[in-house]
């Protein structure tokens, strides 16, 4: 390798390939066998293989916000079970305050992997060579509301079952007490246990695959290469950072949090690039709040790592080596590093905003690589209750996909926030499986932030409840702080939540939990993506195409882009366009 150690570059590449396909295979096992929509459709899970020290040597990523969140969980297991980690064990945990968890619905499963090695003159010895891990977002872990991600909880004890690091299997035998506790404390035990089974299958797949590599190379030799993989990843990350300009940049992003007096929440970032290191300091960020949106440290750090990776070569391997080039400072007692008993069930939104704030700072350092702000991460619409036959249901719906304008083009509609690469729930499946009818799902015109490259238009979804009564829970954002533009681009339109009923329409808060009755309709409008670059520089032909395709209207483009389009023929009136654009420019306050 480039640092001249006696490692064979071919073997290195082969092992790296082997590890990458191993964690992919683990991820595929989960995807195909999981029970709940959260895992299957949202792909809200990740798989990883860690070395014996808990450093991630490969991660089968399906969600960027899990990047780098495994080592803290492995550390908790190694500390608690020092000397008692045996072959055939499987560990489980979800608690952020005792065990490196990232909120209660995310349950981690780890299988320690043992291999036989020749230990000098003492003959063959079995030793721990690593951990196969899988974290998945479970449909329910008990607590205040179905789904266990209430924004309304004020302390973690309301959020469901806390699982410290425990043995789920002990020497190959299932620990019944743990399964029983779990099944008894969750609303949908079949789904939770089903998903857990697929996680167990996944770590077994990981163990099998890693042992094949051990058989081929020997545990000691393999370890030398996985160590090199960590170093190699670090070198790649440092090389990229080294190419960025040195300096310090600041950015503050917000969560509306109109459901609590502490809102809005400020996420303050001070980002320093010095040589080949990035330091991100969150001093000044809002103190932890009495609501379920405090983000445990491992999750917040994952947000920082994820944002930095977005401006780098995507081919850098996903290993803990990457994190070595990034220093994160998050003061204890803030929403990005809460202390017990802060609630964190709905902290996903804080993770998204950590990424956005870091990107806002990076946009100043490397403007050609960062796009304008988008929808702020997926909104969550949860309708839970009992259908007319008395059977419980939990309809968990995701709305996402209005990205900001990019340096290279418009923000695409239907591409989710980079933090959570989720899928939507098919309308037909939703209506078969839950007592709901979806009445509208589509793009809303005139909502993307104006720019040379405009933001994506927002989407709307209207869901009607078809059964007696239920609890509606919303987690959304970007109403009072809509997606920001960059380089002269303007903000997108704000989000909206309206409950439509026979007795009149009622706007709901961005985050709330309210009863919902038969026949009522929840309308959620996502925010539109921010624009990138000056809208008056937008190519009039692109404006015309947007009008033809009914994404922008004639009156809107005249006001915002200064382009005059004939509503019938879609011809551009060039003279009028020149005149209007000139007038709009004159009317502007001085910028820069």
């Amino acid at each position: 390798m480039s640092n001249g150690r006696a490692l064979d570059p071919i073997t290195f590449e082969v092992i790296q390939n082997g590890l990458a396909s191993l964690v992919d295979e683990m991820a595929l096992t989960v995807m195909r066998t999981a029970y709940s929509g959260v895992v299957k459709d949202a792909m809200d899970y990740s798989t990883a293989f860690c070395d014996a020290d808990g450093e991630v040597i490969a991660q089968g990523l399906t969600i960027v916000l899990h990047l780098g969140s495994f080592p803290d969980a492995v550390a908790a297991i190694r500390k608690k079970f020092a000397g008692r980690i045996n072959e055939g064990d499987v560990f489980i945990l979800n608690d952020p305050y005792t065990s490196g968890g990232i909120h209660l619905p995310d349950i981690y499963v780890f299988k320690p992997v043992f291999a036989t090695e020749q230990a000098g003159g003492r003959g063959p010895v079995k030793s721990l060579v690593g951990f196969a891990g899988c974290v998945a977002h479970h449909t329910d872990v008990g607590g205040l509301v179905p789904g266990s991600n209430s924004t309304e909880s004020v302390e973690i004890f309301q959020e469901g079952l806390r699982i410290p690091a425990l043995k789920l299997f002990d020497g190959g035998k299932p620990v019944e007490a743990v399964f029983d506790f779990l099944a008894t404390n969750v609303r949908l035990p079949e789904k939770v246990l089903g998903d857990l089974r697929s996680q167990i299958a996944s770590v077994a797949t990981g163990e099998r695959g890693f042992l094949q590599l051990v058989a081929r190379y020997g545990a000691g030799e393999l370890r030398r290469y996985t160590n090199e993989l960590l170093d190699y990843t670090e070198r790649r990350a440092r090389a990229e950072i080294g190419d960025m300009p040195d300096g310090t940049w600041e950015f503050t992003d917000y969560i509306d949090a109109d459901n609590i007096p502490d809102g809005p929440i400020a996420i303050k970032v001070r980002l320093t690039i010095a040589g080949d290191i990035i330091e991100v300091d969150f001093e000044g960020t809002t103190k932890q709040v009495p609501a379920g949106i405090n983000s445990p440290l491992p999750f917040s750090k994952a947000g920082v790592y994820g944002a930095v990776r977005l401006v780098m070569d995507p081919a850098i391997p996903t290993s803990s080596g990457f994190n070595r080039a990034i220093r994160v400072k998050m003061p204890a007692g803030t929403v990005v590093n809460p202390v017990p008993p802060a609630a964190c069930g709905a902290r996903g939104i804080t993770g998204f905003r950590v990424m956005d704030a870091v990107l806002g700072a990076l946009a100043q350092a490397v403007p050609a690589r960062v796009s304008a702000d988008g929808d702020g991460g997926n909104s969550l619409i949860t309708i839970g209750g009992y259908d007319d036959n008395g059977a419980g249901f939990a309809f968990v719906d995701f709305m996402a996909g209005a990205r900001g304008g990019r340096p290279g083009g418009d923000g695409p509609e239907g591409v989710p926030h980079p933090g959570a690469n989720i899928a939507n729930i098919p309308v037909e499946i939703a209506e078969v499986e839950a007592p709901v009818r979806i009445e509208h799902y589509g793009i809303v015109p005139d909502t993307g932030g104006p720019g040379k490259h405009r933001g994506a238009c927002a989407q709307v979804r209207r869901v009607r409840l078809m059964s007696g009564e239920a609890t509606l829970q919303l987690r959304s954002d970007k109403r009072f702080h809509p997606p920001w533009g960059l380089q002269g681009g303007l903000a997108g339109t704000p989000s909206q939540n309206t409950l439509l009923s026979g007795s009149g329409d009622r706007d709901l808060r961005t985050m709330c939990q309210v009863p919902m009755k038969r026949g009522e309709v929840i309308l959620h409008l996502l925010a539109g993506g921010g624009g990138w670059g000056d809208p008056l520089e937008r190519d009039p032909q692109l404006v015309r195409e947007d009008v033809r395709n009914e994404k922008l209207t004639v009156a809107y483009v005249l006001n915002h882009y200064g382009v005059a389009v004939d509503p019938k023929t879609f011809e551009i009136d060039e003279a009028q366009t020149r005149a209007v654009r000139a007038a709009l420019r004159r009317a502007r306050p001085e910028r820069h």
Binding site: E13, V14, N17, T62, E190, G194, R197, A239, P412, G414
Partner: protein, 698 residues
């Protein structure tokens, strides 16, 4: 070849560079020809090549009964964005389903990702007032005025193709059918697809996308097939034209015109069909096919004597294994396709060193132009083929019987400059490393169809073909612990041979939702008999009596809440008292086999039923090449193998017929007109009665 009148059949497989043509008589032997493809109008190349081959073997044009064709015309229309101007009619409130897709994208670390452009622009996605609920009940009746308004728009805009997909139409097709009638009446010339005819299956994005793809490529496929038929008949070829489908069956050109979405993986499927039949004849139940060409390597699995089909497919997405994990790169096409995994590594793949100092192969390819460095046609980048030349696997003078000259010094130089020197390796080690990394990249395709699905590749034989399959097959087999590699005769035109082995075949699907233990037997029987009627119509279109139909039934099942179904066979021709129990038992077992666990106590839900019809061939099989050439005594060449300190002097046979006279053990090379087979040291090799080279791995 014995000449039998009126019973000649042609297989024609079109690739980017070459059109392969295979001609067979009734006696089971074939002859072949490779000609350049004519991308401006592929039918021209087909006709010229066909006439040349017929003339060479003195076969009269009117003696050709059938021409079976594997074509890329459907795929190309999508990849190159050259489909018809297409409109979509859908339920009010849902016209953006097509553009929003399933949201999830295949690139995680990118702020720059752009999804593929919707095949129908927003202004041509038109909504009508109607609504049916998930139980099939009409919530809002169809407002025909809104349909006419949509048709006005289509007329005004000049779209030449229309797709119709209404919510829950798989449950109650009445509205969709009526919309179809209204369009037919007013726009008789547009190409029309209804989702209930293309894919009557739940999940609106996948159903809409599949229907749109069908309409988008419909007019192109129609035009192409018409032109081909015209050319053939004006040249006096009255052969019946049949087209290879993605599912491994063939169908009449007429059927392909109505269901063009069914032929997008036409070419790759043919190779797997060839392997399937060859394996059957050899009595091999478990085989992995490995097809390695210039830019990609493809793998597919035959298990228990069955080809594996998938309906999780996307068209136009380029080559990506990750698409198995995260989809969205292409357009969803939820029709049965032979499950083929593909990676961007082939002979032309470029070898490079990344910023961190790691050696990589592909996915960038030198293609035919500029080509590998050793072709000396302008390429400076080292490729896998260059490494194979340096190692001695590829003839250092020329390929394809002398038509492509090779300059080994160029290969050596490119590897030295770009790889060996920067990494501090010898050129031979850089070449060995390239070969090894290529193998390790390609095994991801094999793993994707085996270990990723819970199957152990060691239980399978490897069937290697394509221009480079015989060179890399043994190395691949060794990595996966596979014991036997089989290289069929004429590996370079093997897909065209596969075309001649395929039989008319089709799979019909219909959504039928419910717990299997509480399904209404009459509903199930009625649904199956509807599909049987469709199968009878299929036979009729193929010009065959429906009594020859071989029918098999299956059901897509899942546990409540699961979003992936597993397909299990449905025994018998109708629902019986123990059907529910047998289905559930089969599902629990299949779940355990595929995923390593099941939940035997939980109820099983049905999502779809399937009916497959196959019309057994009435032509002679097996196919073997006619009269192999006799090319004289073996020569020796210096060849480098992994794990050997020095190059070995290795005999090179000019034809596989010489295998075993006297050498039958590696190291050994067989160098034929269209491909080379490398038998590594210590491996045994023999020729079986069907002219396969069978390599027993050491």
């Amino acid at each position: 070849m014995k000449k039998k009148t009126g019973n000649w059949r042609l297989g024609v497989d079109i690739g980017g560079t070459f059109t392969d043509i295979v001609l067979t008589s009734g006696d089971g032997t074939y002859v072949s020809l490779k000609v350049s493809s004519t991308p401006d109008d592929y039918s021209r190349g087909i006709l010229e090549g066909t006439l040349a081959l017929l003339a060479r073997h003195a076969v009269d044009r009117n003696q050709v009964a059938e021409l079976v064709h594997g074509t890329t015309v459907a795929t190309n229309a999508i990849v190159e964005n050259r489909g018809a101007q297409t409109a979509l009619i859908t339920t009010r409130g849902f016209r953006d389903v097509l553009e929003l897709r399933r949201l999830r994208v295949p690139e995680l670390y990118s702020l720059n990702y752009e999804p593929p452009k919707a095949l129908v622009e927003r202004r041509l996605r038109l909504e009508v007032d109607e609504r049916i609920d998930s139980g099939g009940n009409v919530v809002t009746p169809l407002d025909e005025k809104s349909v006419h308004a949509a048709i006005d728009r289509i007329e005004g805009d000049g779209a030449t193709a229309v797709a119709v997909c209404l919510l829950h139409s798989y449950r109650n097709p009445a509205h969709e059918r009526r919309v179809g009638e209204l369009i037919r009446a007013r726009l008789p010339d547009v190409y029309l697809s209804l989702s209930i005819e293309v894919l009557p299956e739940i999940r609106e994005y996948e159903r809409t996308s599949t229907t749109v793809v069908n309409s988008y490529i419909g007019p192109i496929v129609q035009r192409y097939l018409a032109s081909l038929r015209r050319r053939l008949s004006s040249a006096g070829l009255a052969a019946r034209l049949r087209i290879m489908q993605s599912n491994g069956g063939i169908m009449s050109a007429g059927a392909a015109e109505t269901m063009p979405a069914q032929i997008v993986e036409s070419g790759p499927a043919a190779g797997v069909v060839g392997v399937y039949h060859a394996a059957q004849r050899a009595g091999l139940k478990n085989v992995i096919s490995f097809d390695m060409g210039g830019t990609t390597a493809k793998a597919s699995m035959i298990e228990g004597g069955n080809r594996s089909l998938t309906t999780e497919y996307e068209v136009g997405g380029g080559i990506s294994l990750s698409s198995r994990l995260i989809k969205g790169r292409g357009y969803a096409l939820k029709l049965p396709v032979i499950d083929i995994a593909e990676v961007g590594a082939g002979g032309g793949s470029i070898v490079w060193i990344d910023r961190g100092g790691a050696l990589k192969v592909g996915p960038r390819s030198a293609g035919a132009v500029p080509g590998p460095a050793c072709y000396a046609t302008g390429g400076d980048d080292p490729t896998v083929t260059d490494a194979n030349v340096v190692l001695g696997y590829v003839n250092p003078e020329a390929l394809a019987g002398g038509s492509v000259p090779i300059y080994p010094e160029r290969a050596r130089q490119a590897l030295k400059d770009r790889i060996a020197s920067p990494l501090g390796l010898s050129v031979a080690d850089a070449a060995l490393g390239t070969h090894a990394v290529a193998n390790n990249t390609m095994i991801r395709a094999l793993k994707a169809v085996s270990t990723y699905r819970g199957r152990d590749p060691r239980d399978f034989d490897l069937y290697a073909f394509g221009g480079n399959g015989g060179i890399h097959g043994p190395g691949i087999a060794r990595l996966l612990g596979m014991k036997r590699v089989i290289v069929p005769p004429s590996p370079g035109v093997f897909s065209a041979v596969g075309l001649l082995e395929a039989e008319p075949e089709y799979q019909f699907v219909r959504t039928l939702i419910g717990r299997v233990d509480s399904l209404d037997p009459e509903t199930v029987d009625r649904a199956f008999s509807e599909l049987e009627e469709k199968a009878a119509r299929f036979a009729h279109e193929e010009g065959v009596d429906a009594s020859r139909n071989q029918i098999s039934r299956a059901a897509d099942l899942k546990y409540a809440g699961q979003n992936f179904e597993l397909t299990v066979p449905f025994e018998g021709a109708s629902w019986s008292s123990d059907s529910a129990e047998r289905l559930a038992r089969a599902f629990h077992a299949e779940h355990l086999r595929t995923y390593g666990h099941n939940a035997g106590a939980e109820p099983v839900h049905m999502v779809n039923i399937r009916l497959q019809v196959r019309i057994p061939a009435d032509f002679a099989q097996p196919l073997v090449p006619a009269a192999a050439g006799n090319a004289g005594a073996p020569r020796d060449r210096k060849v480098v193998f992994e794990g050997q300190k020095a190059p070995l002097s290795v005999p090179v046979l000019a034809t596989r017929a010489d295998l075993g006279r006297p050498v039958a053990r590696g190291p050994l090379l067989i160098e034929e007109y269209d491909a080379t087979v490398v038998i590594p040291p210590d491996c045994g090799a023999r020729l079986d009665e069907r002219q396969n080279v069978v390599i027993e791995m050491a």
